[in-house]
Symmetry: C2
Subunit: 460 residues, 2 copies
């Protein structure tokens, strides 16, 4: 028996969603062969079913959900991409969803509900038992992306004077425990957390041991209104598995667990990458052409305006260019090098601000370093490109102008690469959102202006 | 008592490293006041001490480490930035480090050792007990960034026929258990994993319950040579807390826990952001000017070559520009819009490839969508900029040329934004490394060529 179990598990290690498998499911759907579809889906883990639904076309997805109906496990819903999830929920019976939610841990239930519109939420909530409903409504009142939304309400809390034996007996008998937990919380009579005991420590202690003797008093407490990005930072810094969430009166109201944090870290990183790449709105690989084109348009429009601004700067020097067309040939080099150097500095600044490696304590040292790097690389590339330009057009003075403009623009790139993200951060705007457009506008405008301006003065 | 405990913990919630506190430590260091320094450091958590060390200047750091000496907790070392860690380890006595490593969980010990050079590793390993030493040497033989490096060797494994009572008694008495654990592994006589039991389930079951009756047989097994990025993906997908690591004979050799995975996810995201921003080598905020300038140089040099290539393209049309200087004014708009549109597509492609949202199953659909988005936005921006250019220079035909070049370049941007990252991924090169330089070179060259080429044909 163990032989086959291992063989089966070995297969599970590899991605179960092979193209062949997906084809089988879609063929069975096309044939309307419900039994075959259910046979194929039955052994799959919820996360794999979710991935399958994410990958399908809208019409295939609809067919699969309608064929599975209430057999679709509720755990699948919380693993779906946001857009797909809303689509699938709309296909299901609100009564079935209400029942599934009532059985879920509260954090998963909130996760499913929070992205639905007001009406969708009400339709489902109205069919839930009164107490579950009240709890979810309370959770939905916390600000979006706060610890209150992320936390799970069910937890194990015991007084410090209990012993291990009593605690274990309580856990064996209690009804309202979370599905999964890794720590128990120790609370005072006012239900304020005073310590935690990891389960392995409970397990390794003798029954008469007092809880207060084995608890960690060094806890990381999270306020219910803390932003989830900050929660993630605390989990990462202190290697936490779970953490108590407290309200404004310091009372224990929930627990955040690391499985949700893993998702937060990954989502926040995706968000930063997306924003820095000029994707302003959330996007999924399965979005339609119309939605995607509209989402991308706004950013490109902003870029069009900044590009026109750069052109206006060039236009100021049209007479100069007319006299010496080599300037038109060489000017993009200065702008492009500045843009790349500025992007480097900005990238380090944005990410270090996000991970808190950059803060008030070392900002000055960072600025000084980046400025010096700009000067050093500015001089090196000025020598390189000055020589290239001078030889190419047989004009030493043109090389000097090119080199001088390069130094100016690399230094401006460094300065704006630091100051723009730090200023945005100070104003509580995510520096990933807008840094790159400001920085490259600066380096384009300054690049063209410095090069053409110096040329007008020194070469004409 | 609980009153003060809560007050203390409330303060702990906020960042303990205030500028005032850091100043106090540095002042005490400057005065050589060892008692004061030790008093300030004593109540700090290891992660906070590490952050303090990360933030300090090299000379301050050296002073603090020398003042603390063997009082510096070994847990601090594993929380330090890589560059800082190597620096601190060099300041400590190899014998002290060897002793600290011998007491650590094996994954933390490997983490500390793996970045040291051969000589540094040997110096420490030679002072460790033979069995600990052999185990670490074995771990260091696994490929870098593999599950073998990440895993922890100590774990709790029991046979399926044990009952809960026996298991709990075993855990109370065993010596060689990991510092922290959340699941126990069930193994067959050949030590192959056949299931897992989360601790909370052991705890909630009566003593006579058979382990085989409460174990999950649906496990996620990780091969010892799996890349850590893939391990992280499995943890994220299946919401794992820990997972069994097996060797080539399917035997259980270790366990990977989610606290290490949290770090991996964050590091891999930082790496992608860094690479896409043109930072080719790892960088820390505290690196020196010389190191940083050298690290950034190579990427800027590649960019210089591509910028010169774009200039050569412009140079082909110098006679055309000489006749009509408006072309020089407008040409950067076409290149810049293409670069931004290409970067958008590339960003989505690179991130979706990394998170596996984009794969062979939906690649074709994604390509088709991006191409259509390029066509749609290309036409919209062609109309916009065509009108602007035509009015600006009072030349309708110039507007037509500008619009046509815009469509061409936006479509090229979409195609290269998809194909470049997918091709790199196919060749097992991280698409984040080189995509942006290929894509923007394409859009620069094609942008200038299309605009100036069409102008030479239609306007001259």
């Amino acid at each position: 028996m163990s032989e086959t179990a291992v063989a089966r598990q070995s297969e599970e290690r590899d991605d179960p969603l092979t193209p062949q498998f997906v084809r089988q499911v879609i063929d069975a759907l096309d044939r309307g062969d419900g039994d075959q579809v259910r046979n194929l889906i039955a052994p799959m883990r919820p996360a794999d079913i979710a991935e399958l639904l994410d990958l399908m076309r809208t019409d295939e997805r609809r067919a699969l959900v309608e064929m599975l109906g209430p057999e679709l496990k509720p755990e699948v819903l919380s693993e779906l991409e946001e857009g797909v999830r809303d689509e699938v929920i709309a296909l299901l019976d609100p009564g079935d969803i209400a029942q599934a939610l009532a059985e879920m841990d509260s954090d998963d239930a909130v996760y499913l509900l929070e992205d639905l519109d007001q009406q969708g939420q009400q339709e489902i909530l109205s069919q839930m038992p009164a107490d579950e409903r009240a709890a979810l409504e309370r959770a939905l009142e916390y600000p979006e992306d706060s610890a209150g939304r992320l936390m799970q309400r069910h937890l194990v809390a015991v007084p410090p004077f209990w012993d291990v034996g009593h605690t274990i007996d309580y856990m064996r008998e209690a009804e309202d425990l979370p599905d999964e937990f890794y720590e128990i919380f120790v609370v005072d009579p006012a239900y304020r957390p005073i310590g935690t005991v990891p389960l392995y420590r409970v397990m390794r202690s003798k029954r008469p041991t007092k809880i207060s003797d084995i608890m960690n008093t060094e806890q990381t407490l999270i306020r219910v209104d803390t932003d989830r990005e900050e929660v993630a930072r605390l989990f990462e810094k202190y290697d936490l598995i779970s953490a108590a969430v407290i309200d404004e009166n310091d009372r224990l109201v929930g627990v955040t667990t690391v499985d949700d944090i893993v998702e937060v870290i990954s989502e926040e990183a995706t968000e930063d990458i997306r924003l820095m790449g000029g994707i302003v709105n959330e996007e999924a690989v399965g979005d339609s052409v119309a939605l995607t084109a509209r989402n991308r348009f706004s950013w490109l429009f902003v870029n069009l305006l900044t590009a026109i601004l750069a052109s206006v700067v060039i236009g100021l020097f049209d007479a100069t260019i007319e006299q010496m067309v080599a300037l038109a040939v060489l000017m993009p080099i200065v702008a492009s090098m500045g843009g790349n150097a500025g992007t480097q500095t900005m990238t380090v600044a944005v990410r270090s601000l996000a991970t808190r490696e950059l803060g008030p304590l070392n900002a000055l040292r960072f600025m000084r370093r980046e400025l010096m790097v700009g000067v050093v690389n500015g001089i090196l590339f000025a020598l390189l490109i000055g020589a290239v330009g001078g030889v190419w057009f047989q004009d030493a003075m043109l090389g000097v102008v090119l080199g001088a403009a390069m130094i100016v623009n690399m230094v401006v790139a460094a300065v704006s690469g630091i100051l723009v993200p730090m200023a945005l951060d100070r104003m509580n705007i995510d520096p990933a959102v807008a840094s790159s457009v400001f920085v490259t506008t600066m380096t384009d405008v300054v690049g063209f202006f410095a090069f053409l301006g110096l040329a007008a003065i020194w070469l004409m």
